[in-house]
């Protein structure tokens, strides 16, 4: 048998190793799952981890999905670091798409290319406002932010459906629940000819850099983290927990909204009921796998994007359901949390010491030294 023993100090090595260990366990479980489903485990795993990075086009597709995941996860990292449990990023993403989409619908072919700026700003504002509801209800009425933010996901989803089935439905759309296709001027500029990757990727990466500076090089970022790690210490130092709440939710809501607007003006080009693709929930996993660190989130978002693309490929190539993605994502977070235990504890194998032998040993060797012996 083994037991857990508290480490004198949290292990920095394990903090890095834990996500890799978790991924390894997920892979082993995944391989056995494939074997059970009657697919060759190695070639099935290749669909998830080799195919999505085999050429430039595959990398571009990977980046398209990693962009919203990264943006949302960055905001959530700030939130979780300050101990604010916003798990309704999916709703803030939808609102961002609605806000950005509304501006994009006003654009015509004659609009200036700079229409993109109001589109993205509208997304940020809409997402931040949606998260602002959570902050307000928490701040003013002490309502639990987990439940409120989550309920607002369902409300946002229904709001989107109302719009695309109702007032925003394309009159020339053969009664399909979708808005008009946005004018070509609203399309995000592509980074490379022939690839779908657009400037959203650059925005996401520079946001990661900016948040790194904010968290680790500014006083405001420091205050936010102290509030999360040691609320009593933060109170003693006079750091406002209310400001931390509002800041964390505004940042995460704004970034989720930005991701929504980028998605609407980028890959989608119109609003449909299928705007929410679960990025807001997957980003929770990205944030944890990325150690709530902006740089870690970059790598974690690529990994999670692989799961998305792998799931799609598994459907078309192996005839497996696309929902396999969700299984892997959930499994990864589970194993990660279990592996994280090793940061603060170490596994000790029980050498069979008889329990009744211990008191004698304690008597023979007193652990507290007498003052004279020092």
């Amino acid at each position: 048998m083994f037991r857990l023993e508290v480490r004198p100090q949290p292990s920095a090595t394990m903090a890095w190793l834990s996500p890799i260990l978790a991924l390894a366990v997920t892979l082993v479980v995944g391989a056995s799952l494939f074997a059970m489903l009657g697919k060759a485990p190695l070639s099935a795993l290749a669909v998830f981890f080799i195919e999505p990075i085999k050429n430039g086009y595959a990398w571009s597709e990977l980046a398209v999905k990693a962009t919203p995941l990264l943006l949302i996860a960055l905001g959530l990292s700030v939130c979780f670091r300050s101990n604010v449990w916003n798990i309704g990023a999916e709703g803030q993403f939808i609102l961002g798409a609605i806000g950005g989409g509304w501006v994009a619908m006003q654009a015509t072919e004659e609009s200036s290319k700079f229409i993109l700026i109001p589109i993205l700003l509208a997304g940020i504002v809409a997402g931040a406002a949606w998260a602002g509801i959570v902050a307000f209800l928490r701040d003013r009425f002490n309502a639990n932010e987990i439940l409120v933010s989550l309920m607002l996901v369902y409300v946002a989803d229904l709001l989107l459906q109302y719009l695309v089935y109702g007032p925003w439905k394309d009159p020339a759309g053969y009664n399909f629940p979708q808005t008009i296709t946005f004018a070509a001027t609203t399309k995000l500029p592509k980074l490379f000819r022939g690839f779908r990757t657009d400037i959203g990727l650059l925005i996401a990466l520079s946001t990661a850099a900016a948040l790194w500076v904010f968290l680790f090089r500014t006083y405001a970022g420091f205050q936010l983290q102290v509030g999360g790690l040691a609320p009593a210490a933060a109170r003693y130092a006079g750091f406002s927990s209310r400001r931390a709440l509002w800041t964390a939710l505004a940042i995460s809501g704004g970034l989720a909204g930005l991701a929504g607007a980028l998605e609407a003006a980028g890959p989608l080009g119109q609003l449909t009921p299928y705007v929410p693709a679960g990025y807001g929930f997957a980003a929770i996993i990205v944030a944890f796998v990325g150690r709530l660190h902006p740089i870690g989130a970059v790598f974690a978002s690529i990994l999670m994007s692989m799961f998305y693309i792998g799931g799609e490929l598994a459907q078309s190539r192996l005839g497996l359901p696309k929902s396999l993605t969700g299984v892997f994502q959930g499994l990864l977070l589970f194993t990660l949390l279990a592996c994280d235990t090793l940061i603060n504890y170490r596994l000790v194998w029980h050498t069979s010491v008889k329990p009744n032998a211990q008191p004698e040993a304690t008597l023979a060797k007193p652990s507290v030294k007498s003052p004279g012996s020092a």
Binding site: L4, I146, L147, V155, F281, L324
Partner: protein, 306 residues
Amino acid sequence: MDGIAPLIASTLSAGTILALAALGLLINERAGILNLGAEGMMLMAALAGYATCVHTGSDTLAFIAGAAAGAASAACFGALVIWFNTNQYATGLALSLFGAGFSAFAGIKYTQEKLPERPRFSIPVLSDIPFVGEAFFKQHPVVYLAILFTLALSWFLGRSRGGLVLRAIGESPESAHALGYPVRRLRFTAVCIGGALVGMSGAYLSTVYTPLWVEGMVAGKGWIALALTTFATWRPARVLLGAYLFGGVTMLQFHLQGQGVNIASQWLSMLPYLATIVVLVLISRDINVIRINMPASLGKPFHPTS
């Protein structure tokens, strides 16, 4: 007036889903464990119950399968948070995300399957009373079971030694540990029993209430159940009443749609979620009301020092 009796009947049915799940979560929380995984557990249990019913045709077995699925997934969660000291919020979320993915994956072929003929229930004599019989006495046995269980749980928590111990490990695990109670094992037991109830709620949803299996069919009911425990300030009888109230809100939405009210259906569908927010705000406004019954060590990990 015609529609009222069926409306009451369907309210009781819808409320039972929330009541079972919320009572399960209440047992968890009284022991000091906050399980955010209810949504995922309900999904997996709904599928387990549905699949069992498709293959065996037995309602009883379906409920047993649902409860087993709920207890098994709760055991995974419990082992992680109790012995590995993982963060309860994050672990519960992981369970919810995993449950959503896994049930969608494993349940894909059951979306086509149909259940055998659903049995109808009615209590002899009482169900013949006009109006009242239609409204109250033609329910699935689990509806009455949920009421009985609420009473039993009220008695257990407030009047029995076992209930006192359960509350003690949620209020002050250190004291319970000092008295010699195996806090972690008791917490684990509470998590598993609570999980079984959440699982029964999932099985009720897929085999009695809808009855069908669709990916993501729980649609937030696990989260609403979680809100209910706060709303009811951790008291079983209030949980039941709250569950019926929310069941009523859900049914009112269908009722209004049926009446041809001139509001887009999406606005009506928002009602249960908005009601949850409103109720949370109303109840949380006064922190003292919450604190009277809130288990003092809710969500806090416990590791014995010796």
